[in-house]
């Protein structure tokens, strides 16, 4: 089975093989084979020891995830026993009275992520199609690098840019326009701060563009060449070919990419904290400030006094963890089913 990733590696594995075959006596193998004979008993023990070592590393990964879950559960027990399931549906956030509900935060997390998806999905799927199907070879590398670099910008710098550049720009140019022409929807009304749910959505959209684009690209590249050729041979235009053979075959994987982007958006902390306005209220208008699960933890955890307060914040983290777990598992299944499952060994 050919591997979908072909970033120039596919032709290389043959070469070391050739150089290895050229030196059967091992004098020249890149200095790696010592000439001493290996005692079979000794080496069996060493084999077992080495395997134990890497199994330990693998178990450590599982242990870390287990510890995360354990710590979240044990630290949030107080809040869970005090508020029960009502925690998820209450709108109160009152540290003084020690009464807490997570609904405005869940709402803020979901809505800001949805706004991000609405903006990011068409752009990133378009970019992926452009990169794989249309783009001249010469600019493909540069464009792919630019999209990758977008992913390398730290969250806190997105936030900085959001506060001082994006929010004023939204306030001056975009929000008046939206209020004038789309105000009737009720989504774009109220005072124009710049900072708020809309700004958070835009920042998140920019942040999840690269991940959706790169996974979509992988999925699209996994669509067999002959599907495209068949459509073209029937006289389809390029767009018809893209629609009929590429997008239709890749839609499951693209959906997976979108959901993976959603998972990233849900857990994003710093940039959102800096531009969303941090007010635990549910408002229909996207101009209004909001608050997310991740940003309330970031803002209040170090200042929280009282065990119930701390415990409520940890329960927020637990909700966030479960939310991203579900979303990522779903996305993983979809992407795996299209591209690889278990990564395949290259045929040597």
């Amino acid at each position: 089975m050919p591997r979908p990733r072909t970033s120039g590696n596919s032709r290389q594995p043959e070469q070391p093989e050739a150089s290895q075959a050229g030196s059967p006596r091992s004098e020249q193998g890149p200095g790696l084979v010592s000439r001493r004979r290996f005692d079979s008993k000794e080496s069996k023990a060493a084999d077992a020891g080495f395997k134990a070592l890497v199994v330990f590393c693998a178990l450590a990964v599982i242990a870390v995830v287990g510890l995360i879950l354990f710590e979240l559960l044990s630290q949030s027990r107080l809040s869970m026993s005090k508020f029960g399931l009502k925690f998820l549906t209450k709108q109160i956030w009152d540290p003084v009275a020690e009464d807490f509900g997570a609904l405005p935060f869940i709402y803020g997390t979901l809505v800001s992520s949805l706004v991000a998806l609405v903006l990011a999905v068409p752009l990133s799927v378009g970019t992926a199609l452009f990169l794989t199907e249309i783009c001249p070879r010469r600019i493909r590398g540069i464009l792919a690098l630019l999209v990758e670099l977008l992913a390398a910008i730290p969250s806190v710098i997105y936030g900085l840019w959001g506060i001082f550049v994006l929010a004023p720009f939204l306030r001056r140019s975009i929000q008046p326009f939206l209020a004038k022409y789309l105000g009737w929807t009720g989504l774009f009304t109220g005072p124009k701060y710049g900072i708020g749910m809309l700004a958070a959505g835009v920042i998140l959209a920019i942040m999840i563009l690269p991940i959706i684009a790169s996974i979509t690209r992988e999925v699209v590249m996994a669509v067999p060449r002959n599907q495209r050729e068949a459509a073209l041979a029937l006289g389809a235009t390029t767009w018809e070919m893209l629609r009929m053979s590429v997008l239709r075959n890749a839609r499951g994987g693209i959906l997976g990419a979108v959901i993976l982007g959603l998972g990233r958006a849900l857990g994003e902390t710093m940039a959102v904290t800096m531009v969303i306005g941090n007010r635990p209220e549910i408002a229909k208008s996207l101009f209004a400030p909001g608050y997310t699960l991740a940003s309330v933890i970031a803002n209040e955890f170090t200042e929280a006094v009282g065990n119930v307060y701390l415990s409520a914040l940890v329960e927020m983290a637990l909700i966030l963890f479960v939310l991203t777990l579900i979303v990522n598992a779903l996305a993983g299944l979809l992407v795996w089913s299209i591209t690889r499952g278990m990564p395949s060994r290259t045929l040597a």
Partner: protein, 288 residues
């Protein structure tokens, strides 16, 4: 596409084609705009304050002119160094397990867990490190921050390591085993060495990913106005300092935040570009 049939294509279809392809091209163009805007702003605003003092002095009290982020730069480098000591061996080990022993259900469990860990929001990892290290030590520390960042490095390294190890042809393994070399020695000296530049790539990817992380440091490394080289003390970090300055009401603090952003982004971009350079030379070292 440009064949004899093309002049029979109806106007409507040709128009739809042109519109769709135009929209796709436009999307690709729009996606690159934020990158240039952000990089442009960071460079423009950051250069104004970038000077020797910024790189060698510790912060002045809020609102005062002057001062720098030297302690935060050193703190960040130390955090990343200690995080690598935790994340790199575990990540490579888990990657070796997945590629060499994990071609089965047990391997899939580990693979899935890695993906889960990769998707855990960084703030949740920060909280876990807080509960594990800070609550045990009873105070914030550089070590706690490194644990958080180290955990975040593991899944990236192990999955990428697995992928590059699988690119090493089976015949190389067989050749080594055929010479009577024990299995572990084959993996360490033949497979890992052949894939070494790919593994370096994975480490740099992970490094770039955690270098700008702020959220997991907030309740672990915590930040510090002064120098700290002690593993058991709270320490300043570049992303934390940028955040702290960005939300302060002083103009001077904002300028310093931009300069900090410039320094941070330079560190990360250099890493990413070096990684591209290495990856461009071929993941397989033996291929040279």
């Amino acid at each position: 596409m440009r064949n004899a049939a093309s002049n029979k294509i109806s106007v409507r279809r040709r128009l739809a084609n042109a519109l769709a392809l135009g929209a796709i091209g436009l999307a690709a163009l729009v996606v690159t705009i934020p990158l240039f805007l952000i990089l442009g702003t960071v460079i423009h605003n950051g250069l104004s304050e970038l000077n020797w003092n910024f790189l060698t002095q510790i912060p002045k009290p809020p609102g005062e002119e002057g001062g720098g982020m030297a302690n935060a730069i050193v703190g960040s480098l130390m955090l990343l160094g200690v995080a690598s000591l935790i994340g790199v061996p575990l990540g490579i080990g888990a990657g070796v397990y997945l590629a060499e022993y994990g071609r089965n259900v047990r391997g899939n469990v580990v693979r899935f867990t890695c993906d889960v860990l990769n998707g855990v929001p960084s703030i949740v990892i920060g909280l876990t490190a807080y509960a594990l290290v800070v609550l045990t030590q009873k105070h914030f520390s550089l070590l706690a921050g490194s644990v958080a960042l180290g955990i975040m490095m593991i899944p990236t390294i192990s999955r990428t390591t697995e992928e590059v190890l699988l690119l090493v042809p089976q015949s190389i393994r067989e050749a080594a085993l055929g010479l009577g070399i024990p299995h572990w020695r084959t993996i360490v000296s033949v497979v890992l060495r052949t894939a070494s530049s790919g593994i370096v790539t994975s480490i740099m990817l992970a490094f770039a990913r955690v270098a700008g992380e702020t959220a997991p440091l907030m309740f672990t490394a915590f930040g510090n106005q002064y120098w700290n080289l002690n593993l058991n003390q709270p320490t300043a970090a570049l992303p934390l300092q940028i955040f702290a300055y960005a939300v302060m009401p002083y103009d001077q603090a904002h300028r310093q935040a931009w300069t900090g952003a410039l320094v941070l982004i330079s560190i990360i971009m250099i890493t990413v570009i070096v990684f591209r350079f290495i990856a461009g030379r071929g993941v397989m070292k033996g291929a040279d």
